[in-house]
Amino acid sequence: MTAAGPARDEAAYDELARTVREHAGRLATALVRLIGDFGAAEDLVQDAVVEALRRWPVDGIPDRPDAWLFTVARRRGLDVLRREARYREKLAQVQWPVPSEPDERLRLIFTCCHPALPRSAQVALTLRVVCGLTTAQIGRAFLVPETTVAQRITRAKRKIADAGIPYRLPVEADLRARTAEVLTVVYLMLNEGYLSSGGEVASQRLVDDAEWLAALLHELLPDEPEVAGLLALIRLHRARAGGRFSAGGDLVLLADQDRSRWDHAAIADAVDLLTRTARRRQPGPYQLQAAIVACHAEAPRWEDTDWEQIVLLYDLLLAVAPSPVTRLHRAVALRYVAGPEAALAELDGEPAGRLDAYHLWHATRADLLRDLGRPAEARAADERALRLTSNPAEQAILHERLRWEP
């Protein structure tokens, strides 16, 4: 190795992060098979990672980092096995290399996202076990104390063991519903990462992991249209990430974004994936959301946005997955098709009561009221929105607006 000191440490940490990200799930899976205990397997991987943190900066990065981690984890696993007589017969089954059977990784994901676990634990467990994040990283990303994350994971692991949550693929009859559970977890990662409160690095990590999981699921379940839909949705968001913040770090609204900073090749790829998936004619919420984002991504300028198509897609989305937030988004699109009055009527209709605590509902009303020449009401709505958001980027935009309002 030519690098020395901090630079070498840095290289070792980067390599370790990459290895953990790509292989932690597979290693845990192999170890579950070895020692038959979900929680212990994960601890072994973490122990091996700690060992690597100590050794790699000194000894250099090994030729096959994943094999190095496995060897260390397996050695410790064998110690555990030797201590525990009831696992003795399993020693005979130990072998390396363990095939990275796709089914094994899928099993792990489905176990982490089992519907008998609370949603927050599904997310924490998946990030920890499948993506290899530390409890501290998960806590930062979701603004939850690390001890809370650790408790959730511990409780979930105990329930998996004690309640008999199986470590295997769901049977055919359950697969659709269970895949939907997994996708919800991935979608939560995307949402939290995309509009989160946890700081830029934590957020970026979450979006990366969401894409990685979605790509993995798509590879393993190529016939599930909603998996492809969610993957396309994540990739479309990422492709436009370059335009979302100004040089000063402020959030830039879609209408004002510099579209030359979007990754147009990535957009084309995602749209292609979406188009191929749509041929199956099994539309679902993720495909429809991706299609809406694609409409925005493909418009050369804000003025060229195909709002009629977007309103239509929102209608379809409301039909399969009705939600007040979706109605809100539809109203925004409707403004460009039917004018601010129609949009405001839509907002003040059905969803009003249910979205009273949602800052974007008030911010959108403010926008429409300004358009309609009702500045006092607009100001009151913006002030209400400001009180309801904790996201600094959104607060900045609202402050800016209020400065200009009478």
Binding site: H114, P115, A116, G164
Partner: protein, 113 residues
């Protein structure tokens, strides 16, 4: 693994049952009988409990045992019966519970051994 399925009645369910015609009620019980027959192979025991008004609760957490009338939690939902089953894992227990044609709530709890 062994699990107990705890069946829970609600006031609404009770009222609906009362409001049924004798024929409809017979049909509803028929579905339950069919479910039990279908799962006979994994059912190890169980029974229907008599109505909640027959329940008596003894509390031993004070200085003296206290006997009160009624189930241990006062509420609109009461345990009305149970089955002990033996299946491979929670997924199988869940599938069974999801196809139960009777009362609207089921708690699934693994047995210690």
């Amino acid at each position: 693994m062994k699990y107990v399925l705890l069946f829970v009645d609600t006031e609404q369910f009770h009222a609906d049952l009362q409001a049924m015609t004798p024929d409809d009620r017979a049909r509803a019980f028929g579905l339950v009988d069919a479910w039990v027959a279908e799962h006979r192979g994994v059912i190890r025991g169980g029974n229907k409990l008599q109505d909640a008004h027959t329940a008596t609760t003894v509390r031993l957490d004070g200085p003296e045992p206290v006997v009160t009338d009624g189930p241990f939690v006062e509420g609109k939902e009461v345990v009305s019966g149970y089955f002990e089953i033996e299946v491979a894992d929670l997924d199988e227990a869940l599938r069974m519970a999801k196809s139960w044609p009777g009362c609207p709530v089921i708690e699934i709890r693994p047995l210690e051994s």
